[in-house]
Amino acid sequence: MAAHYTESAAKVVEPPSKIKRKAPGSGQVKRSVRRLESKAKVDGSAEYIYNLSLPGMLYGKIARSSIPHGKILSIDATAALAIEGVHAVITGEDIRRLIPDPYYGPAFHDQPILALDKVRYAGEPVAVVLAADPHVAEEAADLIAVEYDPLEPVFDEVAASKAGAPIIHDRLRPAATFPDLKYLQGRSGTNVALSGRVRRGDLEKGFRESDHIFEHTFRNGKVIHAPLEPFVTLAEMNGPDGLTIHTASQSPSFVRSEVSRLLGWPENRVRVRTAFLGGGFGGKLYIKLEALVAACALLVRKPVRIALTMEEQFYTITKHGATVRLKTGAKKDGRIVAREVETWWNGGAYADIGPRVAQKSGLTSAGPYDIENIAIDSHAIYTNEPPAGALRGFGVSQVVWAYESQADIIARALKIDPLEFRRRNILREGRPHATGMLMTDVDIDAILDRLAERMEWDRPLDHGSGTIRRGRGIAIGIKACVAPTTSVAMVNIYGDGSCGICCSTVDMGQGSDTAMAQIAGELLGVSAEAIRVIHPDTDVTPYDMATLGSRSTYHMGNAVRHAAEDARAQLLRIAATALQTDIDELECRDGAVLTRSGARMSRQITPFWMLGGAGAEIEVDTETGRIRVTKLVNVGDAGSAINPDIVERQLIGAGTMQFGFTIFEEMIINEGQVVNASFADYKIPGMLDLPDDLTGELVEVPHRHGPFGAKGIGETGMFCVSPAIGNALYDAIEVRVMEMPLTPERVLRALRQAQDRPLTSD
């Protein structure tokens, strides 16, 4: 057939109200298809932006602030420029000549491309050296001399929120990029970027009616994403008035709009493309290096590449440290009747997406519990530490650590089995969440059942004796997905009947290429393995909000589904006309159709609820405080899994990441200086650290609007690991540690305090 295609107008399609199986039922979904790119990932040929170099390009190396807060008095690049081979040194003032207002960010326009006038954290980019030889750039960057007038810094999130704290940003300018952040104001004259609130019922009345009131404060420190592919961006001029950015980014569409805004260019002159990502975990979202590299390339009119070292990742983006204060009122029978939650998020020097982290995780910070009286306050706070942003779970694991540790405390105080305590309180189908939204397509009982079964909860545990003690614990958690949000996909059927999907979802290891191919393949009667997924290129692939928050399977999955349905319908119509036959007589093959479709979500706070549970069994060495996790079960609700094998591995992978955050990962920040910014001093889990028995378990509660019933699950495995282990620790040694991570030192100090023989340094 000749190359014949039609294009339907872009349209917004509301998801149908029930799962409809219009598909021919070609067996592509709910099948453990191997990753489409499997061969490329084992033979070294997989494309990462890391691999890319451009003819005539310069390498950039960033010179960084050595102090956490201070005015810049002078920047002296003389010695750097004297190094043979240095092409240029770029400072914030150079950037300002190209971009008069060079401040960026998804929530506030607060982050300068390079520091201007002052620095707000140790490690902030101050200047860039460009050279054809990366070693020359590195050597010269060390020679840039910056003189500062130090200002008083503030590091603790609670202290920074108080009146009288040093002010980090004089003025806050909301970005208004995303609909859910349009109302952001910020409070100029304070360090509060956002205060989110939820109120339900009458809190004081609830506390008056309570038989017991529990109040605790939980903390966790900062950790980092540490994707193994470095943060890397290249930019080049594309003709006299165009710009192409090649970047390891989870959000190419946002990069396009934000760089265009900074430059004052229309979006159609900026092209942003990505390839496979060597891990992202939320770190590679929004703008990281892109604005800087683009500005450098435009200033010197040559291609520029900047890749960060692992050390520099620690100065670029972190997970939020948080302080969570929980006050809970319960009846004698364990029913929770009132809960007050106040969380302070240590957002570091620039907001990044921190306000959304505070807002979204705040919404669910009273837990998956049916509570009549709730007050939630969630504060995103600026401090003079490296910026914090999204990290797999988006603030949820910090609040689950608090409310599930406290759930264990309450259950034990009231002498109720922890599992039974949860059963008495969980939110069930049709009941209103704290925000008023009804719970739909959830089954927390099923998660508890699975946990009980896999943990053999009814069987007594041998708690050990001597110096090795054993314990077990469980936890459950809930997360709301981002809303409202947009994903657009195109499905192309080429002249020979082969199929390509254009979408801007970034495959960073979660297997999205494979899942999208399965969804389209299911509808088109094509095997997923034969479908090609075209990687994000804003000149080619349509808009997508970003690859984050476990949203892609649901949102992009629905967009791909609609596009494939549309393509199929067009194809059948064309074929029916050409062959002068009835549409019902036809199959989906041959022909060429281009179609476009979109999916948009409602104004509810979440299109679907993410629910998970974890159970842990541990051994504690009472002489050293070391925890050994002997069993870790992670249960997640994936809806109907598109690809069960990949989904299960997502649970295990996320569970292992959070296991590292729970047991040993912690950025040590001393007076604003990160002192362990390397893999030598900051350990991520390796082969020998793993729990002996590590499993991921799917609970499949089909979602009425999900593509073939699926929900997102990339983050679910993160939620509950920490409190499950913390609760197991209490079960083993009757010591409650309120702050993560549960390092041997912290456990031993707490144990010795409890034994009334504190370590001498306490």
């Binding site: 191997r34 990753r35 790119e37 499997s38 061969k39 490329a40 990932k41 084992v42 033979d43 070294g44 040929s45 997989a46 990462y48 890391y50 691999n51 170099s53 081979g85 030889d133 070693h135 020359v136 994403h225 540490a226 994707p227 193994l228 592919e229 470095p230 496979f276 990502l277 060597g278 891990g279 975990f281 070292t309 692992m310 050390e311 960073m508 290891g509 979660q510 297997g511 094998d645 990949i646 591995r649 295990i652 992978g653 569970g655 292992t656 990441m657 390397s678 893999f679 030598a680 991520i684 889990p685 390796g686 082969m687 020998l688 793993l690 590590l694």
Partner: protein, 160 residues
């Protein structure tokens, strides 16, 4: 860069003769990428602690981000690109695919080459030996259980 810091190295790369003009401070990974467009060995932690940059030099696994290119003069270097025979993947590669032993894939070539070194020396390792041998390779996606399964399967310790 001054001439005195430059030299020519000749070595075997994935079975073929290779020649490169290098600066003496350049690492093996830099030279493999720049002069040979081989990207399977990749720099991540930059300290020899994650294993992403693994290459085999005379059959021994080295951290290519620390190992100076000058040292491979006269040696035999193998990267992950040299493992397959034509279009046919090496059995280790096949086993990684069959066992879904990767997610983002950035660490995978390093794991595969460490496995090659392991099996060349110990064709039938126990599960504990596999774990210890691969403990210097990090995977942030945490595909570890599948990696162990892949190695067990290809070494005959376990059925696929």
């Amino acid at each position: 860069m001054k001439e005195t810091y430059r030299r020519t190295i000749r070595f075997k790369l994935n079975g073929r003769p290779a020649i490169a003009e290098i600066a003496t401070h350049e690492t093996l990974v830099e030279v493999l990428q720049r002069d040979f467009s081989l990207f399977g060995a990749r720099e991540s932690c930059g300290q020899g602690l994650c294993g992403c940059c693994t290459a085999l030099v005379n059959g021994i696994a080295v951290s290519g981000c620390l190992y100076l290119a000058a040292f491979v003069d006269g040696a035999e270097v193998m990267t992950v690109e040299g493992l397959a025979s034509g279009n046919e993947l090496h059995p280790i590669q096949q086993s990684f695919v069959a066992n879904c032993a990767f997610q983002c894939g950035f660490c995978t070539p390093g794991f595969i080459l460490m496995t090659k070194e392991l099996l060349d020396r110990h064709p039938h390792p126990t599960t504990d030996e596999i774990r210890h041998y691969l403990s210097g390779n990090l995977c942030r996606c945490a595909a570890y259980p599948d990696i162990v399964h892949a190695v067990e399967a290809v070494s005959g310790a376990r059925k696929v």
